[in-house]
Point group: C2
Chain length 226, copies 2
């Protein structure tokens, strides 16, 4: 149990005594697919670490467009920024799997961070990484075409939530055309056309529950803008 906590980003490198204290202050919670952990605009009262399953982070723009920001996997936290500095959650986080989370009250988290400065360092590292990741994607968005971005997004998902099989890498997430469209910033029709072509060319294979990358190398070629 503690071993698992030690593998999370935010509690990395803490000694087992500290982890014990931290864990005693947490609540564990099981959540069904489709259920929302936090909703955009609600007051940020809790901080979460995902123990099991996957969640998707979405945001609705002022004009009603939905954007899929990222997927969260085991060991990753969410709600940190909001709890530390904001009043409201900036995003909605929804379970896509059967999930299990650890939950801390926001005030408690501030106390823990004061008590264990290492957590502050970890938080810094998390933010720094997220910043770089976001920056990279921002740049992609500025300079690349939909097809390239789609290839890159799928490869990224494969890297963070895929597992290798004999035929290729499988992404065990229910990625609808709509989801993909919200990731790359287009509509379902454009995504559908591109995916159809890729399926025809036997680069990928999709069903309602997963995506199978048959020719990862070819996708990488599409993703890289050379």
């Amino acid at each position: 149990m503690l071993a698992r906590l030690a593998k999370t980003q935010i509690f990395a490198n803490l000694d087992s005594h500290s982890l014990h204290v931290i864990e005693q202050n947490a609540h564990s919670k099981q959540v069904d697919p489709g259920h929302c952990f936090v909703r955009q605009g609600e007051p940020a009262l809790f901080f979460y670490v995902l123990k099991r399953g996957h969640a998707k982070v979405t945001q609705v723009t002022p004009d009603g467009h939905q954007v899929l920001v990222r997927y969260i996997g085991p060991g990753q936290e969410f709600g940190l920024v909001a709890v530390l500095s904001g009043y409201e959650y900036p995003t909605t986080v929804q379970a896509v799997d059967e999930c299990e989370v650890l939950v801390w009250a926001g005030e408690l988290l501030a106390q823990l961070m004061e008590r264990y400065p290492l957590m502050g360092f970890n938080a810094l590292r998390i933010f720094a990484e997220q910043n770089q990741e976001l920056q990279r994607r921002y740049q992609e968005l500025l300079t690349e075409r939909v097809e390239q971005r789609l290839a890159q997004s799928i490869l990224r998902l494969a890297q963070q939530a895929g597992h290798r099989t004999a035929e290729g890498t499988v992404i065990d997430l229910p990625l609808s055309r709509e989801d993909l469209a919200e990731i790359v910033g287009t509509d379902i029709f454009v995504v559908s056309r591109i995916m159809s072509r890729w399926e025809q060319d036997e680069l990928v294979q999709t069903d309602r529950k997963s995506v199978l990358l048959l020719q990862q190398a070819a996708l990488e070629r599409l993703a890289s803008p050379i």
Copy 2:
């Protein structure tokens, strides 16, 4: 002198004794327009705080596109992420004005942060803000048209580097069409067309050294996607 340091984001809320120690460890440097403080890809050895002037942060993508990430003004830092966690600077930072910076060696910064935990907190806040800002722009990019993004970018620049005059807000930065194109992710032709139209409609007025917003309200209407 110390008062100025106290107004920077990273050294905010530190007591004057700490600021004194911190300042004694810094070097001050004058830099001419066009000169680069740091270059993308070089080892991240120094951390900077801009005392006077403005600098632009750019990044070159693997395929050679240049992206203008943001402008930096007095009191803002740069190089923090790179020095703390990275090996190389991820961006190039170039003076657009006559600039003055304070410089610290990277290792020194780590020591200072250990000694003054408040700096860690400040860094967290800076990253959190940058994250939210980047996220907001990422979302814009995903869902909005070039004209909207251009309006928003100009309004943002006005907010962070503009000053009010009788005729309207003036942005005292040499914003070429190329710069604007790199900010919104398009080419100079599209920018040129839009700006020409805006000048014709007397929304803005530009020359080589500045941009004048004549009808900010109209720009805000263009920027908001309703």
